[in-house]
Symmetry: C3
Subunit: 214 residues, 3 copies
């Protein structure tokens, strides 16, 4: 039963990421149906793919399992066909996206631990599972990934992954750990959205170079 | 013999992708010899590399086989040294590029099937083999990949890969399948180029956000 | 002893890449702490990760070894907290970056040879180890990677990697080869910086297309 619940949650997160990712891409640039569906799928599946490369767990789990591919493609297609009408439920989509982030961070960290990696590596891949897909999408639509510049997105993912690793290190495991750590990540993310919080910015940034830094 | 013909076709596609990819990059931005040759090689070899990551078939076949590296580097070097003079044969290069797309889509799908993946995965990696390299190139020269926004490029690749998978599922195999599916992809691609066809665009796109979506 | 020296040099190069990479990113765009540290770590570890994918040596060595992660994160954090103050030691950082490039090119090529790859592949992965991380960073901050457009960065890396491969082919090995090839790369890089040398540009570039090439 716990496995079924986790799978249902994971597929829900995948769907929310694909829908939200495709809508974000549609707002940012001109795309055709190939672009919208591709970017939805990349947002949903890209983070897990980077995780599986780093953990040497290829082929990527979400590529082999056709249910993930189907759910991600469905999210992208729905965004393509009903883009504007979905704006009314933007709040719902943001909540689903935060749920996806939380689940991906926790299940990503658990996968790292399961495969025998250390705590730092497990926390990193947890966060990467959560934020990696949106980062690739932003690069493809030519935006500096928002996760690198503003908002509170990677930090809740890191906290959720760290809570997972800490609980596992203390001998706890099972659905209670998964759900608890995911709820922690989710709450921090939603508080950040509600109060428009940002991660700290540099106090004394170096002088900008308008062209050809390096 | 069939193997030799297939290899010759594959190397021709690699060369055409490298030449066309390097010329596209040269038109879009300022580059030195390192950039032109690198972008030619990435256009030619990038799609197959993503395919081999997803299929857990590392190291990538076209990285191990020095002939692919040499042919791709040659395409980039020719673009570097004779850029402007190649514009006269732009039509020829487009035809070669469509041939490369067709061959890569078909051979990519066949590789997915050979390694035991399902039909959806085989179709996806076929298309990715065809369009992946140009997508990475476009990201590196800071363009929204044209495959995501306009034209008819991914769709012929998907159809060619799907025809390959369908024929194999019906028990057909051998050069006739390869050539038939590749010709199907090629014809659709060239019809698209000739009549300037585009994949469908969203009917009701969401309101654009000029800055910082998400 | 030789192993310890090599490790110390490699960690120094990692630190220099992270520091320099994070500072370059800070100069080019607005980032928060997540962005600065992430881009520092990607600059330091990205090239080795691409190398390990191409060589099928996953999980990536610098991901498994926590010391590389720690040193790279430290470089990014220092850039975040003392950005402007580091401008005074810009010359030192450039020297450290050239040292990192040299070491990464040589150790990357050696790893390719150790795993049984041919000379062309070993030279390529050596250069990719040196320039790959900065290339991913530039893509994430929306710049055409400087390694593709100007300066003398990939060429010294290619020469250092080629010298490593040539010496190994002639039966030489050990610290003398490593240090000799790294010094060769380092000197060429610093001469290039000092005299502002560039790799050759195309003589007859094709007509630019301001929009939608392809």
């Amino acid at each position: 039963l716990a496995g079924t619940v986790l799978l249902a949650l994971d597929l829900t997160g995948t769907f929310a990421f694909a829908l939200n990712g495709a809508l974000t891409a549609l707002r940012a640039t001109r795309l055709d149906i190939v672009g919208v569906v591709t970017l939805g799928m990349i947002t949903a599946l890209g983070g897990g793919t980077i995780r599986d490369v780093l953990l040497d767990s290829l082929p990527p789990a979400t590529f082999v399992d056709g249910r993930y591919l189907a759910v991600a493609a469905a999210g992208g297609l729905i965004a393509f066909f009903s883009g504007r009408h979905l704006e009314r439920i933007n709040g719902t989509i943001n909540v689903l996206d935060a749920a996806g982030l939380s689940l991906f961070a926790v299940t990503g960290a658990l996968k790292g631990l399961d495969l025998g990696f250390g705590p730092a590596q497990a926390i990193l891949v947890g966060a990467i599972t959560g934020v990696g897909g949106g980062t690739i999408r932003d690069v493809l639509i030519r935006r500096v990934p928002s996760v690198l510049s503003s908002g509170l997105y990677a930090i809740p993912a890191l906290i959720g992954a760290a809570a997972t690793v800490a609980a596992t290190g203390l001998g706890a495991s099972g659905p209670a750990v998964t759900v608890g750590a995911a709820v922690l990540c989710f709450v921090i993310r939603m508080v950040g959205v509600h109060y428009d919080l940002n991660a700290p910015s540099p106090l004394a940034p170096p002088t900008p170079e308008p062209r050809d830094g390096d």
